[in-house]
Subunit: 168 residues, 2 copies
Amino acid sequence: MRLTIFTDYTLRVLIYLGARQPEGGLATIGDVAIAYGISENHLTKIVHHLARQGYVETTRGKGSGMQLARAPETINIGEVVRSAETDLAVVECFEPGNFDCPIAPECELRRVLGRALNAFLGVLDGQTLADLLKPRARLVRIFRDAAKRRTRFTRIRRAAASVGRTRS
Amino acid sequence: MRLTIFTDYTLRVLIYLGARQPEGGLATIGDVAIAYGISENHLTKIVHHLARQGYVETTRGKGSGMQLARAPETINIGEVVRSAETDLAVVECFEPGNFDCPIAPECELRRVLGRALNAFLGVLDGQTLADLLKPRARLVRIFRDAAKRRTRFTRIRRAAASVGRTRS
């Protein structure tokens, strides 16, 4: 029983942007990719989704980037998960219009699983992005260190490439 | 976020066997397949799992079949789900030994999702198979009707095949 990678990364983008604000300025998809060591390809669709849902605002052109569109206290984690997770059908009879299981109309299991799912989402409904940002100073340090490591790695790679060009 | 088909069918087999007892006698995998309209292939592994976990006892040879090995009141649904669902890692950092996400040590989200998963399982921990069998009379009727429909269908198919043989 897993949340999709899409939902997982959606939450991670919000945590990154929340930790970066207010003084960190606009962030790029590249910044988030470096911070978590994940692919930019994955993130493009996620940022688009977050912008469409009104959680993130993006700026185009020179100095382009993104930032939270709302205060972290107003971003409810249960709502974010519901908007990102397309499949909250814990079992197939939860799918709208799926009546394949003959006991569905009498099924206590279905009701119990519905209560369990509500309990899961209920915990998330009690949390905002601000709650996830409580260890903010430590998160900022982790993200900064990841960016530094990445910059060092890029410099070493460029230097190696330049040595290669000189020799050839 | 879904339970696996394996877990879903595991619970359905237990409901079938519980509804059938005590007067229904031993059941076969074919009976369960007919009752739910699902494939016998799926069910073989599930019955093996349930027997290994001590929920079901199987008898071989003439009059072979299976039945619950324990009273429905002693079969806890949370335990059944934990034993059937191999992947309860809601996000990847829940996997033992997976430390890929750099913020894992400071991650409030991880803790919140852990609490949400516990809330989900907590609801199931409060239920036994006996609770799922409360509408037992109606379940028995549904299963009996499914078996009747299946018998009628088999008769019609045999009759059609016999007409085909007579003509050829």
